[in-house]
């Protein structure tokens, strides 16, 4: 044979298999949400920035989702999981309405959301939710959640990348801790001002919070949306 077939023997073949060990199914798209419940109203606010690392994907993506005439959900975390969660929630609430002839009450939605999150206990929705609204008696209420459905009804709460900045502010201004003043409930205007200040301050110091902020007031007469600008930097 003039030309020998030079076939590599098996031992010469060294192939490293493709490694996807560093793939993470989760990412944090940032943002901050706040809710303050009063006697007969609830204020929910959230910024509208959607980021990915140090980049901004969009300046105007809402984190608020109107579930019923008396209930709004605000979610921060991974946008993909949030959209899916909100979609399935809305669908389930519609089914409830068709089957029972009435909308789900806000406390019932609070429990329902917790159950939905816990179904995914071993591959969670990367979403940090805040639910706010008024219950059947017209009282303002809000709930805070973790990613797997642990929830608590509270007077005020925040979640997202600005949570650590804002939560002590809410303690001080809404809960009136460490002050020798009467611990009265806030009026709707006062609560809205606190939420605006909180989002503005978070926008200053948290890189993932900024651009615009949505504020939503829920009371017995309906749901009122408004928007204001935060810093674009």
């Amino acid at each position: 044979m003039n030309s020998e077939l030079k076939l590599a023997s098996v031992s010469d073949i060294k192939e490293t298999p493709l490694s996807h060990r560093d793939f993470s199914p989760y990412t944090n798209n940032g943002g901050t949400t706040i809710a303050v419940a009063g006697k007969d109203f609830c204020i929910i606010g959230a910024d509208t920035r959607m980021s990915d690392g140090y980049s901004i994907n969009s300046r105007k993506v809402t984190k608020l989702c109107k579930l019923t005439d008396k209930c709004v959900l605000a979610s921060s975390g991974m946008q993909a999981d949030i959209l899916q969660l909100q979609k399935t929630l809305k669908a389930s609430l519609q089914m409830f309405e068709h089957n029972n002839g009435k909308q789900m009450s806000t406390p019932a939605i609070a429990q329902f959301l917790a159950n939905q999150l816990y179904y995914r206990r071993f591959f969670p929705y990367y979403s940090f939710n805040v639910l706010g609204g008024i219950d059947e008696f017209g009282n303002g209420c809000c709930w805070s959640y973790d990613a797997v459905g642990s929830h608590e009804r509270v007077r005020y709460t925040s979640s997202g990348t600005g949570q650590q900045l804002i939560q002590p502010l809410l303690d001080n201004q809404v809960g009136k801790t460490n002050q020798n003043v009467e611990k009265t409930l806030l009026s709707a205007q006062e609560a809205e001002d606190v939420v605006k200040d909180a989002l503005t301050s978070a926008g200053e110091r948290d890189i993932y919070t900024g651009d615009y902020a949505d504020i939503c007031r829920i009371d017995t007469t309906g749901i009122y949306f408004s928007e204001f600008e935060l810093k674009f930097d």
């Binding site: 002590p168 502010l169 001080n172 110091r205």
Partner: protein
């Protein structure tokens, strides 16, 4: 477990009208165990310059001793006090000397500069990189909480009594959201006429 979170603690400084305030919590602990409720992290360098140190407690004490030592030598040689800006520079150099084996402490310096007693504050990371702010600076384990509070409650040109109220509310609210900071606080207000020091009793947990 981060070394900077082993002992816990926080320091905050704020600028007012012809005055500065510097404050810290009083907890000394080892991870979850609190060992003392009387460990102030703010130290006087002169009547016009105070140093606050957060982070690992042993490095707080050592750095304080080293800096007081260097300050005393300066006073003996120069026969004058070190101005806060110069002192801050010295702190930065002292930290950078240990660039590849640092002290695990992040200082905050507050003082009144020069004959006009112009308020001066600065903070540094553990390697000595300074940040010059005109409103407030802080370091410790609950900096996000303190940032949120200060950003909202701070206004420029506060009189000493108003500055005291503002810094106290910022501190106490921030400490209450951090498990390893708190057990009371100490606040020093530096004015051209003197220093007013007060202790705060917050949630004792």
């Amino acid at each position: 477990m981060s070394i900077m979170e082993y002992n816990g603690g926080a320091v905050l400084a704020m600028v007012g009208k012809n005055c500065v305030a510097i404050a810290s919590d009083l907890r000394f602990g080892v991870q979850a165990q609190t060992l003392s409720t009387n460990f102030s992290k703010v130290f006087p360098i002169s009547s016009k310059c105070f140093l606050g140190l957060s982070g690992l407690a042993t490095d707080i004490l050592t750095l304080h001793q080293k800096l007081v030592f260097k300050n005393n030598l300066y006073k003996l040689r120069e026969e004058r006090e070190m101005s806060p800006r110069v002192f801050a520079n010295m702190v930065a150099s002292t930290l950078y000397e240990k660039r590849f084996g640092p002290f695990f402490s992040e200082p905050v310096i507050a003082g009144l500069e020069g004959p006009e007693n112009k308020p001066y504050i600065t903070a540094m990371d553990l390697l000595g990189a300074p940040v010059d702010a005109h409103d407030f600076v802080m370091s410790g384990t609950c900096t996000p909480a303190m940032y949120g509070m200060c950003e909202t409650l701070y206004r420029p040109n506060l009189e000493p009594d108003d500055l005291f109220e503002t810094i106290s509310q910022c501190l106490l609210a921030a400490f209450d959201r951090d498990a390893i900071t708190g057990w009371g606080a100490v606040v020093h207000i530096l004015t051209p006429t003197g220093v007013i020091s007060r202790k705060l009793k917050g949630r004792q947990d």
